[in-house]
């Protein structure tokens, strides 16, 4: 499961690609992605039409020798085709670009990877060109090199390479897509990430609900529970080693931790009371949970490794959920202490609790953006809609409008939100995502129905 970045790439690739690399060394090294100012959205949205219309050609990645690999994609040549397809789908499915993939393009030769035939690509109206290579590496590993070129300027914009185990070849493709996305958009990467969610099957009154995980593009899908017990509301740990979730395993709702390395689960804490709504702190050191005592629900905080819990709220209403600010100093949560579900903010020690939603209707399921600049939530006034606002409760904007959308979760870069949408009547639910403009909305492809998505951080 290790993914080794060939850092700065130039020296390593100089060895790997002896001849072409020589011409390479005077070219600029990969530039760090530009940080966009934290305030507001202007100029920083995810589908700026200027570059959404960019013609990006992504031909199959070349190989120096077509040899078998232990990857699911086949030989290095077949793998080069698959890698380019994954990159194309990443960029296309998120509404960010309109790339042309390897199935419609000629395949460059290995020697052309670092010496693109610019005039040929210009003739195909490509403004940007992604080329790369795949090589077998010792120990069954594969090395993937990734290059982004500006065709008009005849200039390399970015490059990187990774050596990965055979089971992680898609991660190298996601890393390449992340490199392209970051370089062209100025935003932080997010494709190399995973999602935990609840897979749903069966009729409305007997829905089977299973814990499941998948890559950000739906690949490497795996069920973690059998469905004999109802499970809900998973949350990936920041290090991807475990998942907090709610289970009715012993008949009543309690929070369990699923350990992904040992495939075992344990109770978060012993309690005679119902415990639900688990959340991690951004550093993984704390867990928030909500516990009902005699019908009154409050939010608690405990060390994730075990230890004494601290009660953070004590209002007579329902206080539930919670999402830390990225710096861990504040928590946004939901309470009906004022008569209806509204969103509140408090310090991480429970002090200074104050309501921030005054939009009419009800406001629920707040989730703090990993960038810190926005809070996503469910606004309920007739329809259930996904909306965002500033941490101060200003500038509310709707991103969706459907009968019932709820439970937003942020992409690692804070630019895309997933949520689940329930169909009126049938009760069938699906996982959807939308970007911060609200214009690029799509349903994720999952093997069965899905709800409660939890998007993990960018993988290292």
């Amino acid at each position: 499961m290790t993914l080794r970045l060939i850092s700065a790439l130039a020296p390593v690739l100089a060895i790997l690609l002896a001849a072409p690399a020589a011409a390479q060394q005077s070219l600029p090294t990969p530039q760090p992605t530009e940080q966009v100012p934290e305030e507001g959205l202007s100029g920083a949205v995810s589908d700026d039409s200027d570059w959404q219309d960019l013609g990006i050609a992504i031909p199959a990645f070349a190989t120096d020798a077509d040899v078998p690999t232990q990857t699911s994609a086949g030989s290095t040549s077949a793998l080069g085709m698959s890698v380019a397809r994954v990159i194309t789908d990443d960029l296309k499915n998120n509404g960010l670009f309109k790339p042309v993939g390897p199935d419609a393009l000629p395949r460059p030769a290995f020697a052309q990877v670092q010496a693109p035939a610019y005039d040929t690509w210009a003739g195909r109206s490509a403004e940007m060109l992604v080329q790369g290579f795949v090589r077998a590496a010792p120990g069954g590993q594969v090395t993937v090199g990734c290059y982004l070129y500006d065709v008009a300027l005849k200039q390399q914009l970015a490059k990187a390479g990774w050596t990965v185990g055979p089971g992680d070849w898609r991660r190298a493709a996601h890393k390449c897509a992340d490199l392209i996305y970051s370089r062209l958009s100025g935003e932080n990467p997010f494709f190399d990430s995973r999602i935990a969610y609840i897979a749903e099957t069966g009729p409305k009154d007997r829905r089977m609900k299973r814990l499941a995980i998948m890559d950000s593009d739906g690949a490497n899908h795996r069920y973690l529970t059998t469905g004999q017990t109802t499970v809900l509301t998973p949350r990936y740990s920041p290090d991807y080693r475990s998942i907090l979730y709610l289970s009715y395993f012993n008949g009543s709702p309690r929070i369990y931790i699923y350990d992904l390395e040992t495939s075992t689960q344990r109770l978060l804490l012993q309690s005679t009371n119902p415990v639900f709504a688990p959340r991690w702190s951004p550093d993984g050191k704390w867990v928030l949970y909500s516990m009902a005592t005699a019908g009154n629900t409050d939010i608690y905080k405990m060390p994730s490794g075990g230890g004494n819990a601290v009660r953070l709220t004590d209002s007579p209403g329902i206080d539930i959920g919670g999402s830390f600010s990225p710096d861990g100093t504040r928590i946004v949560f939901e309470s009906d202490r004022g008569g209806s579900q509204q969103v509140y903010v408090m310090n991480a020690d429970g002090s200074n609790q104050r309501r921030i939603t005054f939009f009419g209707g009800r406001s629920a399921t707040p989730e703090w953006s990993p960038r810190g600049d926005q809070i996503a939530f469910t606004h309920i006034a007739g329809n259930f809609r996904i909306a965002v606002m500033t941490p101060g409760g200003g500038e509310m904007r709707y991103l969706t409008d459907s009968w019932q959308d709820e439970a937003p979760t942020w992409a690692p870069n804070g630019r895309i939100i997933q949520f689940f949408r329930t169909t009126r009547g049938s009760g069938k639910a699906g996982i959807w995502q939308v970007d911060l403009t609200g214009r690029n909305e799509r349903k994720l492809s999952t093997p069965v129905d899905g709800s409660d998505p939890s998007w993990g951080p960018l993988r290292p």
Partner: protein
């Protein structure tokens, strides 16, 4: 004959007053369900054929729909119709003092998932607290919330939602 008619009239009066109060407050129109032909009408204490007295099946049959109480959207207060149902439950529980019960709290689908879990718990506790106030030992009663995860009415309309906003008492065999 005369006696039978008196009892039948009394039952009809009770039923219609229950229906009226249901309409006047918030209980769904479909409820309580028709008791059906196999329910004895000559005594509330008689056992139904094939059902063991004191069992959950007996409880469910005897309650004639009053094993569940219903709530308004986002509410958990116990109104007079709920009190009548809970008193009927308490009377049965008083006859079988060895029986324990779970009060299951539910919400309709028009709420967010986690809030509905907390809301179902609040409703179950409201029902439990009333049962305790009319003499049921609190140690005999447990609560569990299923939020919106276990609807009984499958439509996405007001009458279905009204039937799903409920607290159901289930005795433990």
């Amino acid at each position: 004959m005369n006696k039978t008619r008196t009892i039948r009239t009394a039952i009809l009066l009770l039923a219609s007053s229950a229906a009226l109060s249901a309409c006047a407050s918030k209980a769904p129109k479909q409820l309580p369900p028709d008791p059906g032909a196999n329910i004895s009408t000559n005594t509330t204490q008689g056992s139904v054929q094939g059902i063991v007295p004191g069992s959950q099946a007996d409880f469910a049959a005897q309650m004639m729909g009053q094993d569940a109480i219903y709530f308004d959207t986002d509410r958990y207060n116990i109104d007079s119709a709920d009190m009548a149902a809970l008193q009927t439950q308490a009377q049965w529980l008083a006859r079988y003092p060895g029986k324990r019960a779970t009060v299951e709290g539910h919400a309709d689908e028009r709420g967010t998932r986690e809030y509905n879990l907390a809301l179902g718990e609040r409703r179950a506790n409201a029902a439990k607290n009333y049962l305790v106030s009319v003499g049921v030992d609190a140690a005999r009663l447990m609560t569990v919330s299923y939020g919106k995860e276990r609807p009984v009415a499958l439509g996405s309309d007001e009458s279905s939602w009204a039937r799903n906003r409920r607290a159901v008492t289930v005795t433990i065999d």
